[in-house]
């Protein structure tokens, strides 16, 4: 290496020096250690008492495919119900009307305050309280014919989701600058129209990431509906291992499907985020 010329003031001129690569030996060591551990875990699973033929045989079995279809159908429908309820509850919560406000707060309190599985069991066993349900004089039916496992799961998951989504929506609406409300008011828009035209479109950009998060949670939360006999993928996997005792194998099958679905959903969320950020993307870039 050349000796550095001295500059004025005794400082060496380092502008022409080459930068030596640091030997990041600790990084190498850490990476190697982690890879060894991962390999050991992988090897343990390969050699463990897992009959992989059962995994491959049941991965695409009809009843498992039906299960994952039911899982996705329930996740989409319950999330849709949750978003509708969440938007309504958030609007009510931010309304100046004290009744609307406290009803919305009560809804969030009740359904966020009790475990999801408890709510599912309540909906499923509703007929113990109300043997028949209906609209007086118009229509009535046996509660069990209405509260099928499907509807019990949809109501349980959707209403619970609505309580959480209302908070996400409220956060989104609060994130829109108050000047936007005022401007909308100034040009004569009513509250609801201002919400629909001005506030909610802007709030969407903020709520998509947390909603995507919630939806991924919902995909997995549908597995709780297995206890009320909704035939989603975990329920069907359980039924198989109740018969053939290949517990781990079937849990791997179900787990793989959840992972696959979530892996597909993540890039979809990115696309959605990009769409709702159309107005702001150029600015933030």
């Amino acid at each position: 290496m050349r000796a550095a010329r001295a500059l004025a003031g005794g400082f060496p001129d380092i502008s022409e020096m080459t930068v030596a690569r640091q030997a990041h030996w600790r990084r190498w060591l850490a990476a190697a250690a982690i890879l060894v551990v991962l390999a050991a875990i992988g090897r343990a699973f390969v050699n463990g008492q897992i009959e992989w033929t059962y995994v491959s045989r049941f991965l695409t079995a009809k009843v498992i495919l039906e299960g994952i279809t039911n899982t996705m159908a329930m996740a989409v429908l319950a999330m849709a119900l949750g978003i509708v309820l969440g938007v309504v509850a958030a609007i009510m919560r931010l309304s100046p009307n004290p009744v609307l406000k406290s009803v919305a707060a009560g809804y969030t309190w009740l359904f966020r305050g009790t475990p999801l599985i408890l709510q599912l069991l309540l909906w499923f066993n509703l007929a113990l309280v109300f043997p028949t349900i209906g609209i007086p004089g118009l229509w009535s039916a046996r509660a069990v014919d209405v509260m099928t496992p499907f509807l019990s799961a949809l109501l349980g998951l959707g209403i619970n989701q609505g309580a959480y989504t209302s908070e996400v929506m409220r956060a989104g609406m609060l994130s829109v600058d108050v000047g936007q409300y005022e401007a909308a008011q100034a040009i004569g828009m009513g509250r609801l129209r201002a919400l629909r035209r001005i506030i909610l479109p802007q709030a969407m950009r903020v709520v998509i990431p947390p909603l995507g998060n919630e939806f991924i949670g919902m995909v997995k939360a549908t597995s709780l509906a297995s206890v009320i006999q909704y035939p989603e993928v975990l329920h069907n996997a359980e039924n198989i291992y109740y018969a053939n005792s290949r517990v781990i194998e079937l849990l791997i099958v179900a787990g793989s499907w959840y992972l696959l679905v979530v892996s597909i959903l993540t890039p979809l969320q990115m696309l959605l985020e990009r769409r709702f950020a159309r107005g702001t993307l150029q600015i933030t870039r």
């Binding site: 066993n125 007929a127 113990l128 043997p131 046996r142 509660a143 069990v144 206890v227 009320i228 006999q229 359980e238 039924n239 291992y241 109740y242 018969a243 005792s245 517990v247």
Partner: protein, 274 residues
């Protein structure tokens, strides 16, 4: 008299030799504990006493008596019914005594020492019209989906309904006995199936609510389940069980739960007809 004294003497000798022979395997003796796993949703076989939250039941009493004779203490753990067999395989439990039926399909993974006669039995709400099991053809019948009962219902339906030109029983899954009875009470299902050994208790809990329909539709045994490679423990426990049957302590436990009629004459291995 000589004959009697000889018999008594022989019995005493037998008792001594069995007592001496029936030592638990070294690992259990050293630990001083048996690790047992139950699914406590199956009264009166094993359940949590509603007031004390203690594990109680016929199986619990039998296991405690066996442990007493082995000179060890039991460490209980609980698990869903479907995880009982994995618990045995993973050695979480030394053996399983938890209202489990001796089924040939399960004998691939375990050996069964049969100790209680049982069988799946139909029951309905008292006001139901069904007079006998055959009236349940074409009806919705629920049972716990993790048990062997769904298969047995299907088999029964094939032989008794479909073979006679009647509509097949529609099976409806439930999560456990309590869930199945809730479905029955709500009218979600028309009839339910439980092991005959649990029905007197269920009827006692909700007097006048349920009516049993016909005899158990297949006969089988509840059994203690051992790992196939654990013959030592299996033999010791079988010996103690045989001694308990002989000295009446077994009968006393069964009578306590009103199940004296379900007694077996002696423990049997993998003996349930399929």
């Amino acid at each position: 008299m000589t004959r009697l004294s000889f018999t008594v003497g022989f019995a005493a000798l037998l008792a001594i030799t069995t007592a001496k022979a029936a030592e638990p395997p070294e690992s259990i003796k050293q630990a001083g504990t048996l690790r047992l796993t139950v699914n406590s949703t199956y009264a009166p076989m094993e359940y949590r006493d509603p007031t004390t939250n203690q594990l109680v039941g016929l199986d619990i009493d039998l296991a405690n008596e066996i442990a007493k004779r082995l000179g060890v203490k039991i460490i209980w753990s609980e698990t869903p019914f479907a995880e009982l067999i994995p618990s045995l395989q993973t050695k979480r439990a030394d053996f399983i005594i938890s209202g489990i039926s001796d089924r040939s399909a399960r004998r691939e993974t375990a050996d069964f020492i049969d100790y209680l006669a049982t069988g799946p039995q139909f029951f309905v709400l008292t006001e139901n019209e069904a007079k006998s099991a055959i009236d349940l053809c074409g009806k919705k019948v629920g049972t716990t989906r993790s048990t062997s009962f769904p298969i047995e219902i299907e088999k029964w339906s094939k032989q008794n309904c479909e073979a006679n030109g009647k509509r097949a029983v529609q099976y409806a899954p439930g999560e456990n006995s309590i869930d199945v009875r809730n479905q029955l009470k709500q009218g979600r299902i028309d009839a339910a199936v439980q092991g005959s050994e649990t029905l007197p208790y269920a009827q006692g809990q909700e007097a006048g609510k349920y009516r049993i329909v016909s005899e158990p539709f297949s006969t089988g045994y509840q059994a203690i389940m051992f790992r196939k490679d654990d013959a030592a423990l299996r033999e010791v426990v079988t010996e103690h069980l045989a001694a308990m049957i002989t000295d009446g302590s077994y009968k006393a436990i069964l009578d306590k739960y009103g199940l004296g009629a379900n007694a077996v004459a002696h423990p049997m291995m993998n003996a349930a007809p399929q």
